[in-house]
Amino acid sequence: MVTPDLSVSLGGLKVKNPVLSASGTFGYGLEYMPFYDISRLGAVVVKGLSLAPTPGNPPGRIVETAAGMLNAIGLQNIGVERFVGDVVPRLEDVGATFVANIYGKTMEEYEAVALRLSEVPSLGAIEVNASCPNVREGGMAFGATPGGIAALTGRVRRSTGKPLWVKLSPNVTDIAGIARAAEGAGADAVSLINTIVGMAVDHRTRRPQLSNVTGGLSGPAIKPVALRMTWEAAKAIKIPVIGIGGIQSAADALEFLLVGASAVQVGTANFRNPRACVDILEGMEAFFREERIAALADYRGGLRMENSP
């Protein structure tokens, strides 16, 4: 049988398949080369970049929870200059399609990072983290209201010609409204969800388990919420939606595509299984073959609502 066509356009970035890595769980991509050739992925989304290198939060950064984990890394990263100077050439060498996830303390900083990255011809897209719950300045303020999202998106939009993805926070009452605001302000795609704000304490020591007190919940625990929000966003907007949250298997990824996502990002799953992304990709290909689905487009958004379930 012919190989199914898994390619899809993600707001101006055409990728060969819809399996992407999620920012912050994939380092700068190269760390995964011992496990497989990362150029096989639709795209590699790298760790969130800021203008200057950022030290991140003090230790006490991760806690395991039921079928999930909380993190409060605080966006430790090498800064956009070193990324462009040291990392980009190596990503080019391995032939990976890559996307930069960015954040700033202020709108100006977002803008500056986007400007600098726009000079990198090989960069596939810019993903604006409008939603990091772990740093006061991680865009959470911008991400929580349609007005904030529109302002931030518009600002970055004007500073770059790269495909612009806006990554949305799940910590909101109305995800559809937020997605519409991003679309209206010029986003080429939205990605969701980022982590859900959570907390863990030790009942004996009576202390928070994270230095930052709260952190972001990720992993299988949040999948049902992520799937619902992906569905709501996909119904609300016309630009592509990239689904994220608790995806561990090809079946999980297919669920997101079914409710309307154009692609998915795989995050926490990479920690337990460093080959998670390719395993998912291969599983997806096998499923399409088995079900004789010729192209992603024939499956995507195909949720059947008549007399469910």
């Binding site: 912050g24 993190n71 337990r272």
Partner: protein
Amino acid sequence: MTYNPTRFVTGRIVRNEGRGEIFYRIEATIPEPLRFVPGQFAMVSGWPGNDPLLPRPLAVFRSGGTRGKGKIEFVYKVVGRGTALLSGLHPGETLSITLPLGRGFDLEQAGRTYWLVGGGVGFSSVFPAAALLGRRRNGFEMFLGARTRDHLPPKEWTPGGKAPGRTHFCTEDGTAGYHGRVTDAVLERMRELSPEAASRLTILACGPKEMLKEISTETLKRGIPAQVALENHMACGFGVCWGCVVTLWEGDRTAYRRVCRDGPVFDAREVVW
């Protein structure tokens, strides 16, 4: 230091047994033999379901096997849910293992005498170093500390080799060997050394944080190089999540560095306690 590149493999459990009062040893076959540096570790999971979600870091205790068939061993103590689940796995069941990981002990310095200090289950990274030094006929002494006799590693696990260094067992309650904390034993023994002998000494240590801190302070005072193997909660184990950082000195500033990739073994002088 040559060692095999990191791989994600499936292990099949051959043996998983409690030994002594509190330790378990698990042995699994893996697709290929592994070379590792003592102090390196693996991320191990294998229980079904997503809870607990994350793999657990365990020091590589032993590896072996011949071409086309590897063997790997870990020793562990049951302290929580992950290790409890591990202890419930049976021969024939599988493990998911990423290994080898991190920077191990530097045992390649010419003309040094090594003292290996293991507190609690810390012997798991110290024994492989002892085994290697023993094979090389490189002089070493080993100090093993525990609360009571029952908390010491079973004697039969102590590595032999051609030149098995002298081993000092220490117990806090005096039920075996030296009566007192392992650090006290190390310090006492140090006092017996000639300045010349002390100048050739390198200390490798793995164990509870308090122990490592004391070893670091005391060796620093005396100008004796020490390498300490740190622990921290880990999500990935191979440097991508930035969850496992500790604070290190870099010149006169501090920085957050990853235990899993920049360590777990650090120069004692670098660590901000």
